[in-house]
């Protein structure tokens, strides 16, 4: 299947020089079509300052949130539809496949596409997506009229309407809460059955527990507390022992409750000499106790630990 070569007119060397040249042109054009690469190269060589909007810029405070809300889902580093990213001033400056300068007001492609009727094939955001309102579009236009800058601050835009206050509700990770509750579920159910009405979760969104012995009062003693602390010490967050029968022996059980933030001990048998030990509780924020147990040293000690001391007069 092989034979002698036919006569050639271009030498392989010349051909590959030509191919090499064309490849270099092609690579050059390819790099040129990637403004991010060009800017990175310039910055690395010190030919250009780092292209970012100032922290206090009008862009960051007013324009970026609009882009984040309506555009970034499809125009971020993950997708960059149309090779356009709108997740920062830097990326917006690089423009997209069109190569149009998006920081100029005249013939601004971004503004044009955002101004199209929602049902237009070229409208942005595309039909069906959450769409900006006229005020937001006007704000972008205002920013562009002053040069699409990443340095001008809000003070440079006195005519811009005041920024709306946004209240954010953080997502609740129900799965995580369920998992955290699961670790103590059996113990909680058992103790709830044995001692009704004293144990409940701090909130629907929490795995931490509140132990309130009001319904048991004097029936709640050191032995019962020991039962709770042995089973649930790391997840008890609030503990109301007021008027129960616990004594100073209970302190050692209390000290195992590493997430305890609120503790009521008024009307109990805890002695003055043991109160100071409660300052060792790492997360304790509030301690309610009999006034008789409080003196200047105790006050100073708890103040030093950042624990609010509430003294209650019994009578």
């Amino acid at each position: 299947m092989t034979g002698k070569m036919p006569k050639q007119t271009i030498s392989p060397k010349r051909y590959f020089w030509l191919v090499g040249g064309l490849t270099l042109v092609w690579i050059g054009l390819y790099i040129q079509s990637k403004p991010t690469w060009v800017q990175n190269i310039k910055e690395q060589l010190g030919l250009s300052p780092v292209l970012v909007a100032n922290q206090d810029s009008f862009y960051n405070s007013r324009i970026d949130p609009i882009m984040e809300k309506y555009c970034a889902a499809c125009h971020d580093d993950n997708k960059a539809k149309g090779q356009l990213r709108l997740d920062s001033f830097r990326q917006l400056t690089f423009s997209g496949k069109s190569g149009a300068d998006l920081t100029l007001l005249d013939n601004n492609l971004l503004l044009e596409r955002m101004s199209l009727p929602a049902t237009d094939r070229l409208a942005m955001p595309p039909f069906g997506r959450e769409r900006h309102n006229d005020a937001e579009l006007a704000l972008i236009k205002l920013w562009l009229t002053k040069g699409g800058s990443g340095t001008l601050t809000e003070e440079d835009f006195p005519e811009a309407p005041a920024k709306a206050k946004v209240i954010k509700f953080y997502d609740i990770d129900w799965q995580k809460i369920d998992e955290q509750r699961l670790a103590y579920k059996t113990q909680v159910e058992k103790l709830q059955e044995q001692y009704p009405h004293v144990l409940h979760y701090q909130a629907r969104t929490s795995h931490l527990l509140v132990l309130d012995v009001f319904s048991m009062k004097s029936r709640f003693d050191d032995q019962v507390l020991e039962q709770f602390s042995q089973a649930l010490a790391p997840v008890i967050s609030e503990l109301n022992l007021a008027n129960s029968s616990i004594s100073s022996h209970a302190v050692e059980h209390l000290l195992t409750m590493t997430n305890l933030t609120k503790l009521h001990t008024q009307g109990t048998q805890i002695q003055k000499s043991d109160v100071s030990q409660l300052a060792k509780l790492p997360t304790l924020e509030t301690l309610v106790l009999d006034q008789a147990l409080v003196d200047e040293d105790i006050e100073a000690l708890f103040a030093q630990q950042g624990i609010a001391l509430i003294a209650v007069k019994q009578g």
């Binding site: 002698k4 070569m5 392989p12």
Partner: protein, 219 residues
């Protein structure tokens, strides 16, 4: 010197249909014609499936068994060919054979990633529902990256083709259009008798199977 038939119509039509479909798929996505892009994608699936079938049961020069050699032998051929020390006459040359496999794999991945990708605007590849949204987004990205690899491979392919046309004076383009080649050296009897061209009806059956598969996916 004798002019003999090297490529059957099926292989030639496949090649140029592949060129047109890749160009059309690129053009449609560049112009936001996503529905047409999907149709051309499925046409490419049909073409790829057809080529695999034809590579197994088609004409001798189209068969994998005809052009797949050990990679070391392919590299050795490439080295000699660049020095103009050897000239392949019939079918795909050993290095070109591997280029076909690489190209089929890259195009294959392009098609699979396209089937699993989405455009966030309600149009998704037909298999995208079988993976999570995150996975589909990943394949959308890979679809885009793989196209750049495909362009690189097409460039390499063109460099090789024009090396034959301009340097070796072997017009592969004309051969792939007409199917016939002017030999520089007469073939021996065994090589000539080993040439086998599958009947047209077999090509039609393979094409129907491939189109049926692509259409079934599209539905």
């Amino acid at each position: 010197m004798k002019k003999i038939k090297i490529w059957d119509a099926a292989t030639r039509i496949f090649h140029w249909a592949l060129v047109l479909n890749i160009f059309a798929a690129w053009y449609t996505i560049e112009n936001r014609l996503i529905e047409l892009h999907e149709i051309f994608g499925h046409c490419l699936i049909a073409l790829l499936v057809f080529r695999v079938l034809w590579g197994l049961i088609g004409s001798s020069t189209a068969r994998f068994s005809h052009f797949l050699v050990h990679p070391v032998a392919a590299l050795s051929y490439l080295k000699q060919s660049l020095r103009l020390q050897t000239h392949h006459q019939i079918g795909h040359n050993p290095a070109g054979g591997w280029m076909i496999i690489v190209m089929m794999l890259v195009i294959g991945f392009q098609l699979v990633s396209g089937l699993l990708s989405n455009n966030d605007l309600g149009l998704s590849g037909v298999l995208s529902d079988y993976v999570s949204k995150e996975m589909s987004d990943t394949f959308t990205q890979l679809h885009s990256i793989n196209f750049e690899i495909l362009v690189g491979i097409i460039w390499l392919h063109l460099v090789a083709v024009f090396f034959y046309v301009l340097v070796k004076k072997d017009n592969l383009i004309k051969t792939l259009l007409t199917g016939k080649k002017q030999l520089t050296k007469p073939l021996n009897q065994a090589a000539e008798s080993a040439l086998y061209f599958a009947p047209v009806r077999l090509g039609v059956i393979c094409l129907l199977v491939a189109c049926g598969f692509a259409y079934w996916l599209y539905q």
